[in-house]
């Protein structure tokens, strides 16, 4: 049944690509959730449209990055699925 669709090698390659995408997004997530805000005090010295940058990143910037990351993950993973022919019909 199921295993007939992919050989062991294909399954491994598929999962390797999927994992790589997961780690890429995880690192970006970590960057926008933590690393940026470690420097909030310093970033606050830069002011754009009245927003101190450190404050802005925590109140809006990181949130925008989360929305982008989630949609990006969905489309990139779909491409991987199609490449290996494991997308749903």
């Amino acid at each position: 049944m199921f295993m007939a669709q992919l050989t062991k090698e294909q399954q491994d390659a598929y999962w390797q690509k999927t994992s790589r995408l997961m780690w890429t997004i995880m690192i970006l997530w970590f960057f926008f959730s933590f690393v940026v805000h470690f420097f909030a005090v310093q970033l606050n010295n830069i002011v754009i449209f009245g927003f101190p940058l450190g404050f802005y990143m925590a109140a809006q910037g990181s949130l925008i990055s989360y929305v982008v990351l989630c949609f990006w993950n969905a489309s990139a993973q779909n491409r991987i699925d199609e490449e290996f022919g494991v997308a749903e019909d």
């Binding site: 049944m1 199921f2 295993m3 669709q5 992919l6 399954q11 598929y14 999962w15 999927t18 994992s19 995408l21 997961m22 997004i25 995880m26 997530w29 926008f32 959730s33 933590f34 805000h37 909030a40 005090v41 606050n44 002011v47 754009i48 449209f49 009245g50 927003f51 101190p52 450190g54 404050f55 802005y56 925590a58 109140a59 809006q60 990181s62 949130l63 925008i64 989360y66 929305v67 990351l69 989630c70 949609f71 993950n73 969905a74 993973q77 779909n78 699925d81 022919g85 494991v86 997308a87 749903e88 019909d89």
Partner: protein
């Protein structure tokens, strides 16, 4: 409504149906605005908003009634990504987000932004680590996954225990919030208001389970987002001429900083990690990160959120649904700091330093509500000093329409929004608890031969029972809303995150490893929470107990890892099962002896 809810015609016409509904709601609001101008008293307007919206939810709940198991547990798996995103948004945003968060930002400034970050970033983890795989797994509950992956009822029961502790803490907080809103806008005592709110929760979920909750939550999202954005967009337009508050509040921040200097405020609104004296504080620094991490991981562990992704038609839709969820949540969350900034600017420029006799009307109105806003002329000079003015964080959002000088109809709208937020989350939680008890405990453990009708009767009875107990506990006013909610996140994170993530991403995880790790992580978290809260145990490294999972998480992962390596690797069959849930296409390769449907 011409279409039977949940059928093909209904799903195909969702856009039309909800557009009509949104138009109807806006029309209703305008009608009430006209009524207000014609002299209809405020009390009637408040009643109209509360009762009409609850009636609509109840009507959707009634139309969605079902006697089919998969409709009851997972809404028939027909919910498109976009609408599941809206439903998740309502499921997610509770009284804490709607009523308290902007107030917390008002009082805490940058330090409180940890809540904004923590309650959004977790969706990235949901999307990449869990949602698509749980959807592929395709059963009914989160403990179902644990029971199958860790072959046995021990894992299932552990899952139910963690789910129950986290979700119950959370639902008590929601019931508490519903009590506050209902009592304020209906003018009835708090204890009575809780039970009135309870009826509102039950009518949505009892007859139709997940199907009813899903379509009500979409309706509730629409109301709550309109209610949240209206007053702040209005205020932004009034002050700066641009109806995009998220853009204009930068100017408000500048003005606040100038006024802070003038008023001699040392703890600046935009300054990160400050203590009460405005100086950089390592304790605040550490607690900020601890909270952000616990809230994010908690997001990815709370069963009432994860089970929303069981309802999409496919794995692909589950993934994009996570994107829509965070988008709809983002709309409210990136507005909250603007709310706080506008309120603070208004208070600093039009309240502080004014003669007490000539304060704006909203200050007078709210100071009559006990404990919410107090003015004490300590030095007797007739001028209001900063130290003489205190405001409760829970009224910032509710009083915003008056701060902005808007008609009372907007106050009613905001109350309806707050109610929608609290009801939708309470419904999702209630269903998560009742489903785990009826499906995982009753059906899987006690009576696997139970008929469909009997299972649904049990599910509904438990739903009512859990709701009643939650209301009774909330009636004792155990703690603040935000604090209870944060505990729920920590409990879920420490108990569920490691077994769920490792179960999918590390084939070597063994049943014994997962179970022991789960108990250890959850145990440490629970111990820290109870010992610091009730037995005055000193804090570890100064970390507050709302971030208890900071200690539970590494223990859960570490113990699972070590014990797994010490025990026999999972069977070939189990590894095939993991492979099958990792791949969107094809059947799930259940291991022998695992009942499934």
């Amino acid at each position: 409504m011409a279409y039977r809810i949940g059928t093909g015609g209904f799903v195909a016409n969702l856009g039309k149906i909800y557009a009509g509904y949104t138009g109807g709601f806006i029309g209703f609001t305008i009608l009430l605005a006209i009524a207000e101008q014609m002299g209809v008293p405020n009390k009637i307007i408040g009643y109209a908003f509360v009762f009409l919206t609850i009636f609509v939810y109840a009507y959707i709940g009634f139309l969605s009634r079902t006697m089919e198991i998969s409709e009851y547990y997972v809404a028939g798996r027909v919910v498109p990504a976009f609408y599941n995103g809206m439903a998740t948004g309502a499921d997610w945003m509770s009284a804490a987000s709607f009523i308290s968060m902007a107030g917390g930002l008002y009082l805490g400034g940058y330090n409180a932004i940890g809540y904004v970050l923590g309650w959004t970033g977790g969706y990235v983890l949901v999307g990449i680590l869990l949602a698509p795989y749980l959807r592929k797994f395709g059963q009914f509950t989160v403990p179902d996954f644990l029971g199958v992956r860790y072959a046995g009822n021990t894992a299932r029961i552990c899952g139910v225990i963690v789910l129950f502790c986290a979700s119950f803490t959370y639902i008590v907080a929601q019931t508490f919030g519903i009590g506050i809103i209902t009592s304020r806008f209906l003018g009835i005592p708090f204890e009575l208001a809780i039970f009135a709110g309870l009826v509102g929760i039950l009518v949505c979920s009892m007859l139709g389970g997940m199907r009813a909750v899903t379509w009500t939550q979409v309706a509730q999202y629409i109301i709550l987002i309109i209610a949240y954005l209206t007053p702040v967009v209005w205020l932004s337009t009034k002050r700066y001429g641009i109806p995009i508050p998220e853009l204009t509040y930068g100017q408000a921040l500048q003005q606040i900083t100038e006024l802070e200097a003038k008023l001699g405020i040392v703890r600046h609104h935009v300054a990160p990690f400050t203590d009460a004296k405005g100086a950089f504080s390592w304790t605040e620094f550490h607690n900020f990160w601890a909270l952000v991490l616990c809230l994010m991981v908690g997001t990815a562990s709370l069963p009432h959120i994860l089970m929303r992704y069981f309802t999409t038609p496919s794995v692909r839709e589950a993934r994009s649904s996570v994107g829509w969820s965070i988008f709809f949540i983002f709309l409210l969350y990136f507005t909250a700091p603007a709310y706080a900034a506008f309120a603070k600017l208004e208070v600093y420029s039009n309240v502080i330093g004014q003669p007490i006799a000539s304060l704006p009307a909203w200050v007078q109105n709210w100071s009559q509500v006990a404990g919410m806003l107090t003015i004490k002329d300590a030095n007797g000079d007739g001028i209001l000093q900063l130290a003489e003015f205190t405001i409760n964080q829970d009224i910032i959002v509710l009083s915003m329409p008056e701060i902005a000088g808007l008609p009372y109809v907007i106050s009613g709208l905001v109350a309806a929004g707050g109610l929608a937020a609290a009801l939708s989350t309470a419904d999702g939680l209630l269903l998560a608890i009742a489903n785990a008890l009826s499906h995982d405990i009753y059906y899987k453990l006690i009576d696997p031969k139970a008929s469909t009708a009997r299972r649904l009767v049990v599910a509904r009875t438990l739903l009512v029972a859990v709701a009643l107990i939650a209301a009774a506990v909330a009636g004792t006013r155990p703690s603040g809303i935000i604090q209870m909610v944060a505990w729920a996140f920590s409990l879920a994170a420490a108990g569920l995150f490691a077994p769920l993530v490792l179960g999918i991403w590390w084939k070597r995880t063994t049943s014994v490893g997962a179970i022991v790790g789960m108990m250890a992580g959850f145990g440490v978290c629970l111990f820290y929470l109870i010992a610091t809260r009730y037995f005055d145990m000193p804090l570890w490294f100064g970390i507050r107990n709302i971030s208890s999972a900071l200690f539970g998480l590494p223990v859960a992962f570490g113990v699972t890892w070590i014990v797994s390596l010490m025990t026999t690797p999972p069977s070939k069959e189990m590894q095939d099962f993991v492979d099958s849930i990792r791949t969107p296409k094809g059947a799930v390769a259940f291991t022998a002896g695992q009942a499934h449907e």
